[in-house]
């Protein structure tokens, strides 16, 4: 299935991820591990120096050679500092490499997936996979590796040292540490769960605020403010309780751990003290014991936190790996790919060796459905001559958009064929077909960037002259020149600084700059001011002239000027012909036409003062 939202756990996701991560970063991993081990060793030995100093003071008094220890301390200190610097850099490099690769791969993979995939998966959901999941995975892999290879050896090293120093006392401290690990694990899991809950409640609060702000006028006229507020109070109270719980959990954690540490310090002082008095243990060793029981705390907390986090990240890994495993539904067939290989260096006219000029297009008994039980298009047949304009008309949901989506091969027919020059278009390459299409969508989507770069999107290597020429062809040149910075005007996110009409005109220019053989257009339904409307109509005429065009038409002037009007109803072609032919039929088209005529006249009247 295409939908990722409900994928069951991907088996071996971690393993796949590990192979992906380890392969290109072997050297980094190895160096990180070595540095982590050295750091652990050095940290463990710092306490041993203290022990030696104390013992020497006891034994030698003022004759002690402190210089020796000072030099030793400096050597360890410098090593530790160098290690810290390099493991931060190594883990940083590793996590950045991983994040970069995961993001690159998932983004590029998304580009290859089919329309049907994007129909089923929301933008926000996919965005979170590419951005936050990848970041989390990279973090845990890099820093988790570091903590594991620093923490576990440090813990083990301290145990070994303790057992060597004093076996019996060592065993007691050792026996207490599983409790410490258990407490850390117990708390970490709960803290993570609770933090997650807080985040969820927080986004719910954001949603409530969002709706609240949008609904203020409604609440005012319904005089609902007080009730709204008391409902909001409930939500903010929930947030309050959850954050309190989260904070208290975190604050209980440290004292708990501390008490356990103090138990082993206390026992060391008691039993060790007794031994020191009896002369069986040096004071240095006693101090080392008391210090070590505290040294153990850090690595234990870190390791247990990383383990808890690792468990949480599993879901992220499954989702990202799952995303990378989705197969695109629409791809070039093996035969087409082989042919493309063959003709690659022969200087053939097209990428796939087929003819370059599109003479005629035919839909032959085409059926299509998004879901098997709901057919959208039924036995649809249509012949289109080169250079003619086809207007598709019909009610919303009748299947007009499906016809052009199939033509663009965003979807493929479930039955029947679409023929180009008499040959099934499945025998041609996708990139050849799509590079010969110019498409104008109903809601013009522009990218952030300049006006010029948006027009150039239709032909990346277009010169400035070509951009201006395309703008002139669709009558938007004058409008652009009137903008503050002309072609260099920055378009804001979503094109909010342009009017709908301007956006439509620019998307026209974008579609024609590549001089496509086929133009596909979903005419905008949103009304624009009269002057822009006029410009749109004029540019439409010049764009459609002598070009094979498919227009999902809403405006009468567009419909009237088409060579062939196709009336679609419930996925079937019900009437086709020229405007006067169809009008004379007094059929479905005649009704549609009357309604549209009245509504356009009414719009004119209602807007006449603007």
């Amino acid at each position: 299935m295409d939908t990722l939202n409900s994928t069951p756990a991907q088996k071996g996701a971690w393993k796949r991820l590990f192979l992906m991560a380890y392969g290109p970063n072997k050297a980094l991993f190895h160096r990180l591990i070595i540095v982590a081990l050295v750091t652990a060793g050095m940290e463990a030995s710092l306490t041993l120096i203290t022990k030696a100093v104390v013992d020497d003071i006891q034994a030698l008094g003022p004759q002690i050679n402190l210089m020796k220890y000072a030099l030793l301390y400096i050597a360890v200190l410098v090593t530790v500092v160098v290690c810290i610097r390099s493991f931060i850099r190594l883990a940083g490099r590793l996590s950045m490499n991983l994040m970069y690769d995961l993001r690159k791969q998932s983004f590029e993979h998304l580009q290859s997936l089919s329309f049907s995939f994007f129909d089923k998966n929301a933008v926000g959901w996919l965005l979170a996979r590419v951005t936050s999941d990848t970041a989390r995975i990279a973090r845990i892999v890099a820093w988790g590796t570091l903590d594991l290879f620093w923490g576990v050896p440090l813990i083990l090293g301290v145990f070994v040292v303790l057992l060597i120093l004093d076996f019996k006392l060592g065993l007691i401290v050792l026996a207490l540490s599983p409790f410490l690990a258990a407490i850390a694990w117990w708390f970490n899991k709960r803290i993570l769960t609770s933090s997650r809950q807080v985040r969820r409640t927080n986004s719910r609060l954001t949603a409530v605020y969002n709706e609240g702000i949008a609904g203020i006028p409604t609440s005012k006229v319904l005089v609902r403010e007080d009730k709204n507020l008391s409902e909001f109070r409930e939500d903010s109270k929930t947030m309050y309780h959850q954050s309190m719980y989260n904070l208290l959990l975190s604050s209980a954690f440290f004292p708990f751990v501390n008490i356990f540490v103090s138990i082993s310090t206390g026992i060391a002082l008691w039993l060790g003290g007794v031994e020191v008095i009896a002369g069986a243990l040096t004071l240095g060793t006693l101090i080392a014991f008391m210090t070590y029981s505290r040294t153990l705390m850090d690595p234990m907390l870190e390791v247990s936190e990383q383990l808890a986090e690792l468990q949480r990240t599993t879901a992220c890994v499954e989702r990202v790996i799952g995303l990378l495993q989705v197969e695109p539904e629409i791809v070039d067939s093996a035969a087409v790919q082989a042919r493309m290989q063959e003709v690659r260096d022969t200087g053939a006219e097209t990428l796939d060796g087929g003819p370059g000029v599109i003479r005629d297009i035919a839909f032959s008994h085409v059926s299509f459905s998004y879901k098997p039980e709901e057919p959208v298009l039924n036995d649809f047949s249509l012949n289109v001559k080169a250079g003619s304009t086809v207007a598709l008309v019909g009610a919303t949901g009748s299947g007009k958009t499906t016809v052009v989506s199939l033509l663009c091969r965003f979807y493929e027919p479930t039955a029947g064929e679409i023929l180009i020059n008499g040959e099934s278009y499945l025998n041609r390459s996708l990139s050849w077909l799509q590079s010969n299409l110019g498409i104008v969508l109903q809601t013009p989507f522009l990218f952030t960037g300049t006006v010029a770069s948006n027009i150039r999107y239709g032909k990346l290597d277009a010169t400035d002259e070509e951009v201006i020429e395309a703008a002139r062809a669709v009558n938007v040149h004058d409008i652009i020149m009137k903008m503050e910075k002309g072609y260099d005007t920055e378009i804001q996110e979503g094109g909010n600084n342009l009017s709908t009409g301007q956006k439509q005109l620019i998307s026209f220019a974008r579609a024609v700059i590549g001089n496509p053989q086929i133009l596909v257009m979903d005419e905008a339904t949103s009304s624009v001011d009269t002057q822009t409307e006029h410009l749109l109509q004029r540019s439409l005429q010049s764009v459609l002239r002598d070009r094979t065009s498919f227009v999902i038409a809403h405006r009468l002037s567009t419909i009237r000027s088409a060579d062939n009007i196709v009336v679609i109803d419930k996925g079937a072609l019900v009437e086709q012909g020229s405007h006067s032919e169809l009008l004379a039929l007094r059929g479905r088209y005649f009704d549609l036409y009357q309604k549209q005529f009245q509504s356009e006249r009414e719009q004119e009247l209602l807007n006449e003062h603007h």
């Binding site: 003071i57 003022p62 220890y69 996919l126 949008a214 006028p217 002082l269 996708l430 799509q434 009357q594």
Partner: protein, 611 residues
């Protein structure tokens, strides 16, 4: 604009309200810190008096305690008491630490919760004049992410800063009291560590910001690509998109790595400082002990004190320099709270005034921007129980008329009276309470249909709800849904068509049963037969209800007692349908188009027909 003087006003006020909690947590942290200090001190006493058998350094109260457990010998025989004392001191310290966290969390979270509630309430009381032109995304951000920043500031930064400051205040004097020389050896580098952290994080702020921005750009590229994926495909620009993404991905990852490298310098250098401090104490202190300047126990205790002090102080520098972020957020929140709320100044009429629905406009001129009036000199009179249709081209001022009636905006010139009372003198809520309105854009909340319909009258029974839904011609539609009135709408539920939404909002308003009902082009997405049906039902049942309908449909106008034609902010004609169609003008033109009497339309019908 407000100056920084007011910046922390609301916050200060909210904090003052919780002052006992805040003070209590300060006291607790003091006690906890003191007991924390005792742990190494106990070790010190044991090492000196019991194990080492020397008199040790100054004593006083410690000796008294030791006497209590049977003197030095007694303690030596029962060393478990010392061990237990360490656990006990840690336990008490932990308990007070927890108490401090509890009090502080309660204080901070209450402050944040109250601020959230206050903001939410404040937003609902802002005048429409402000809300209409404000950027709602910006408001949302102030109510959410700025609050989050503030919460983080209170619960993490203030708490940590406070704890560290108290730690210093308690530890440093006690340490100096024990041994000046050892104190100097264990504290001399700490100010450097603090200033190093403070300056470093102050300087690196810009890089942090750049990394944030680079991440934002990366997210935007992905979001834009996914939103416009159909355009990308339409132009087969996958390759181009990958290159764009590549650039941002590279940039973010490089910048972030640069940041990590900077941080690696900080952590390693500050670790160098901290460990050097420990080394100074180890070697210098060792010399002092060996030369019997200080006791072994004191030496041991200082090793513990340094560890407890040095790391939090490094943290303190970072937290102080990051705290400045919060002041920006507080300022932004305060700005919203400073916008004056709608007032009922000059409202002399009693709050419980009952209106009957007689409306009168005298020479009302109004503009959202006073320089550009939308209504010019409007005069009109509507009687109790009348059904009035208002027609006119877009921008004629019809909706403005309604906004004034609802007191969403206040008129300045002319006079509007309701039941003979000047509208301005009636409290806003009283006015709104008596007028049922449907705004042009139907707005439903993401809840069940039942909740949405009962939104304006929570006490309504299901029978009443069904009745109003029937009148709004939406009852059957709702019953057609598998979950009926329980159907949840919005993002997570069913999405309704425009016409369905309009009828649900109508049912919601009808349920309120107000003396005045206003439909502002509310049924545009409902087909005209249904709309006529609805209006007929309303008209029939109107009783004393005054009904105002803004519409484009002649079929609806026909049902009205009177039709008002508005053009360019003026009332240009009024009368009954039959009289208006006899006068040349907007109304007749509209009627001609809709009834197929339009000349152009006629000529279309004359076009060729096949034999």
């Amino acid at each position: 604009m407000t100056k920084s003087k007011h910046k922390t006003r609301v916050l200060a006020e909210l904090i003052r309200a919780e002052k006992w909690y805040y003070l209590g947590s300060v006291a607790s942290v003091g006690i906890a810190t003191f007991f924390m200090f005792l742990v190494p001190a106990i070790g010190k006493v044991v090492i000196d008096k019991v194990i080492d058998g020397t008199p040790g350094d100054q004593t006083g109260w410690v000796d008294a305690l030791i006497l209590l457990v049977g003197g030095t010998e007694g303690l030596a025989a029962n060393l478990w008491i010392a061990g237990l004392a360490i656990v006990g001191a840690t336990l008490v310290s932990g308990l007070f630490m927890y108490l401090k966290d509890f009090l502080a969390a309660k204080a901070c979270e209450t402050t944040v919760r109250d601020l959230r509630n206050r903001l939410f309430a404040h937003l609902h009381r802002l005048p429409q004049r402000y809300l209409g032109q404000a950027d709602s995304g910006d408001i949302l951000q102030r109510c959410t992410s700025d609050i989050d920043t503030l919460r983080e500031f209170l619960t993490v930064q203030v708490m940590n800063i406070g704890r560290t400051v108290i730690l210093i205040l308690i530890f440093v004097p006690l340490m100096f009291f024990e041994s000046v020389a050892l104190s100097v050896l264990s504290l001399c580098l700490i100010p450097i560590v603090f200033f190093f952290a403070w300056i470093f994080f102050g300087r690196i702020k810009l890089l942090f910001q750049q990394v944030d921005e680079a991440e934002g750009e990366l997210t935007n590229i992905v979001q834009e690509n996914l939103t416009g994926i159909r355009v990308v495909r339409a132009f087969a620009r996958q390759q181009h998109e990958c290159e764009k993404f590549e650039e941002k991905n590279r940039r973010y990852s490089d910048l972030n790595y640069r940041l990590i490298c900077m941080l690696s310098e900080f952590w390693s250098l500050s670790d160098l400082l901290c460990l050097t401090q420990s080394g100074l104490l180890l070697i210098g202190g060792g010399w002092l002990v060996a030369n019997e300047q200080v006791s072994m126990g004191t030496y041991f205790a200082f090793i513990g004190y340094t560890t407890m002090l040095v790391w939090p102080i490094r943290q303190l520098g970072q937290e102080l320099s990051e705290a400045s972020k919060a002041t920006v957020s507080i300022g932004r929140i305060q700005e919203i709270l400073n916008v004056p709320e709608e007032t009922d100044e000059g409202a002399s009429a009693p709050v419980d005034t009952t209106l009957h629905g007689q409306i009168r406009f005298d020479n009302v001129t109004f503009g959202y921007d006073p320089a550009k009036p939308v209504l010019h000199d409007v005069n009109l009179q509507i009687n109790v129980g009348e059904t009035i249709a208002i027609v006119g081209p877009t921008g004629a001022g019809k909706s403005t008329l309604i906004s004034l009636l609802m007191r969403l905006y206040d008129y300045e010139t002319g006079s509007i009276q309701m039941d003979g009372v000047e509208l301005r003198t009636i409290p806003r809520r009283t006015v709104r309470d008596q007028i049922g309105t449907l705004l042009q854009e139907p707005f439903l909340f993401s809840r069940s249909l039942r909740e949405n319909i009962k939104f304006g009258r929570l006490t309504a029974t299901d029978e009443q709800m069904i009745l109003s839904s029937r009148d709004a011609s939406v009852h059957h539609t709702i019953q057609g849904f598998s979950r009926g009135y329980e159907t949840v709408i919005g993002e997570r539920g069913v999405s309704l068509s425009g016409g369905q939404k309009q009828r649900v909002t109508l049912s919601r308003t009808l349920l309120q049963g107000k003396p005045i009902l206003i439909l502002d082009d509310t049924l545009s997405a409902v087909d005209s037969a249904t709309e006529r049906h609805i209006v007929q039902a309303l008209h029939r049942k109107r009783g004393d209800q005054t009904l105002l309908i803004i519409t484009h449909r002649i079929s609806v106008c026909r049902e009205a007692d009177r039709i008002l034609v508005m053009q360019d902010g003026r009332l240009t004609a009024q009368g009954h349908h039959d009289s208006l169609v006899r006068q040349a003008g907007f109304y007749r033109d509209l009627w001609a188009i809709q009834s197929g009497q339009d000349q152009e339309f006629q000529s279309v019908l004359e076009e060729p027909r096949l034999a």
